[in-house]
């Protein structure tokens, strides 16, 4: 199920997102698409062309969009609502919390341009906290798909399963990790690499999964054995896989394109300290705002490169007793 060689996806994530919406609309007559004036940016205009009556471009009003989506869902619709992750999380939190989660509605929230992938939109548009905000909302399911294969599977799951769900989604380039047709399970990490008697586990999400795989190759050359878990579901977290990793490999590195304050590192830490404390290193954004730049520049700025991952693994191993 894992590809033999890492390569960029041939398609942008947003194009796959739109294709999959159109596919799902055929099998799910209640599916609708909502946006807050970012359909052009998200590439969902083909959906609008095919299903104008099932598309609602609300204009620049994220709070209202979420409320409308809730109302639609309570009248039987399956709304997929998109805006940039910054606005979905920071602007519309109370609507997601009270109108959505507290009221047990059925809205699929899509926040795009996660973390450094906001690139030249810069600090105002660079969400390092969206998943953390969503994680604080009871009973939300929170997902970061790694590649297009997973994205398509996740969207099918969202359409089929009632509840408040948040998916952060890269709009443009991603690395293909999974063979087409691979099946996943919500709340279950994917073991994308497992060396015998691994010395450390990297728990990664989003663009950090490919980085971790590249880092593992470098580390293997130095005799360091690595397990990698793709923790694409941040909530519910796969506690079992985390505990197993702590007990079997004795050290954990968490790698995320998000702040470490409220992100995946924080979530994994909670499970580790309660069950099997081991040395941990956290790769992610350390209490900083975003800025403009290329993906490569921003990865260097915030310590999200392959080299950063290699170094974190070595630090974690050095701390093992």
């Amino acid at each position: 199920m894992i590809v033999k060689e890492l390569k960029p996806e041939a398609q942008e994530m947003r194009a796959a997102f739109c294709d999959r919406l159109i596919e799902l609309a055929e099998t799910h007559p209640e599916l609708m698409v909502l946006d807050a004036d970012l359909m052009g940016a998200m590439g969902t205009k083909p959906f609008l062309a095919k299903y104008p009556e099932r598309t609602v471009d609300c204009g620049i009003q994220e709070a209202n969009m979420v409320g409308v989506a809730v109302g639609l869902s309570l009248a039987g619709k399956i709304p997929f609502a998109h805006t940039f992750a910054t606005f979905m999380s920071r602007r519309a939190t109370d609507q997601i919390f009270i109108s959505g989660a507290y009221s047990k509605a059925n809205v699929k929230l899509i926040g795009s341009d996660p973390g450094i992938t906001a690139k030249t939109n810069g600090g105002t548009h660079m969400p390092f906290e969206d998943m953390g905000i969503m994680r604080g909302i009871p009973q939300m399911t929170i997902i970061e798909p790694t590649d297009i294969t997973m994205l398509k599977w996740v969207m099918g799951w969202m359409a089929d399963n009632y509840g408040m769900q948040y998916m952060r989604l890269v709009r443009r380039e991603s690395t293909k990790i999974y063979e087409d047709g691979t099946e996943f399970e919500i709340g279950k990490a994917v073991t994308v690499r497992d060396d015998a008697d691994a010395d450390v586990t990297i728990i990664a999400s989003g663009l950090c999964v490919a980085n971790s795989m590249k880092a593992a190759d470098i580390l293997a050359g130095e005799g360091i054995r690595v397990r990698i878990l793709d923790m694409f579901t941040w909530k519910p977290l796969d506690d079992e896989a985390v505990i197993k990793a702590a007990k079997e490999t004795g050290a954990i590195v968490v790698a995320e394109n998000h702040n470490i304050t409220t992100g995946l590192g924080a979530a994994v830490s909670e499970t580790v300290v309660s069950n099997a404390p081991v040395p941990m290193e956290l790769i992610g954004i350390h209490d900083r705002f975003g800025q403009v730049g290329s993906l490569e520049y921003l990865a260097e700025q915030y310590g999200l490169t392959v080299e950063d991952t290699v170094a974190a693994v070595k630090r974690a191993i050095a701390r093992k007793g």
Partner: protein, 284 residues
């Protein structure tokens, strides 16, 4: 034109308004304090809606063909709880449990706990968007369900209300019939002294709504006629009915005063208030 109400129907609706007020204040007094003022001002529109305007079935609160009501000013739930109990959605005894541990009736309307409540509300400004979403779904599905929405005047200081106010006319949601319970008071005092709402009829009109401005928003006949007009208007616009109401109506200790929002209600005060409300009831 719609049929005129008979004198008996009018009397029945008036009596129902005062019954709602009496049961709401009893419900609040059981706990000792609560949102009396808004519950009193909103009682008449609830009376009209549940007398003959809305489609609902107390035996089947989730009936698909029912109209929906979103009480966006969710803190006035005691009046809605009283209405629903009086209409048989749940036992009257529940009204004695509001805000007590393990109750079905929290201070703010909750759709998961209370039969007959279509939307949870309490964080002000949010209900309108949800009502608009429901109305949009019914329109898309060509279903006849109407959606009713009750906003507060203080609540309308929230920006989201005006996002919704733009959205609903854009989508021609003429199955959405909204009210503002314009009682001129909010928690901290008079709206005019805090953040004046001004001419709300003109505001909504300018946003593209079919607006009716009722000078006496506590008059059940006027409310009934306005709803009938809203249902039959053919402008393709969502309807807004501004109810110029009196906060705390019926209990002179708080009526129209700045202490009306969420006062404590002692046993003695309850007796006093009930006597006043009963005299209104008896005068019909």
């Amino acid at each position: 034109m719609t049929e005129k109400l008979t004198d008996d129907q009018i009397k029945e609706m008036r009596r129902f308004s005062w019954r709602i007020r009496m049961e709401a204040i009893k419900c609040i007094a059981e706990f000792g304090l609560g949102h009396v003022g808004g519950s009193m001002s909103v009682a008449d529109v609830l009376s009209v809606l549940y007398s003959d305007e809305m489609k609902y079935d107390p035996a089947n609160p989730q009936w698909e063909e029912r109209d929906r009501l979103v009480l966006s000013k969710g803190h006035c739930a005691p009046a809605l709880y009283a209405t629903l109990a009086l209409k048989g959605f749940f036992p009257m005894e529940w009204l004695k449990t509001m805000n007590k541990n393990g109750t079905h009736l929290p201070s703010h309307a909750d759709r998961l706990l209370v039969p007959g409540i279509d939307m949870s509300a309490g964080s002000l400004g949010q209900g309108g968007s949800v009502a608009a979403g429901m109305a949009l779904a019914f329109k898309l599905d060509k279903k006849p369900n109407n959606v009713y929405l009750i906003l507060g005047d203080g609540e309308s200081q929230e920006g989201q209300v005006w996002e919704m106010a733009l959205f609903a006319p854009q989508h021609h949601l003429d199955n959405l019939i909204a009210f503002v319970d314009y009682n001129k008071l909010q928690l901290d005092g008079f709206c005019d002294d805090i953040c004046a709402m001004g001419d709300m009829a003109a505001k909504f009109e300018d946003f593209g709504w079919f607006v009716q401005n009722l000078e006496d928003g506590n008059d059940v006949v006027a409310i009934h006629e306005a709803i009938e007009t809203a249902k039959t208007q053919t402008t393709g616009k969502p309807s807004m009915i501004i109810l110029n109401t009196i906060k705390g109506l019926g209990w002179s200790e708080i009526q129209g005063k700045t202490n009306s929002h969420a006062p404590a209600v002692s046993h003695e005060q309850l007796e006093e208030a009930l006597a006043e409300l009963q005299s209104h009831y008896d005068a019909i």
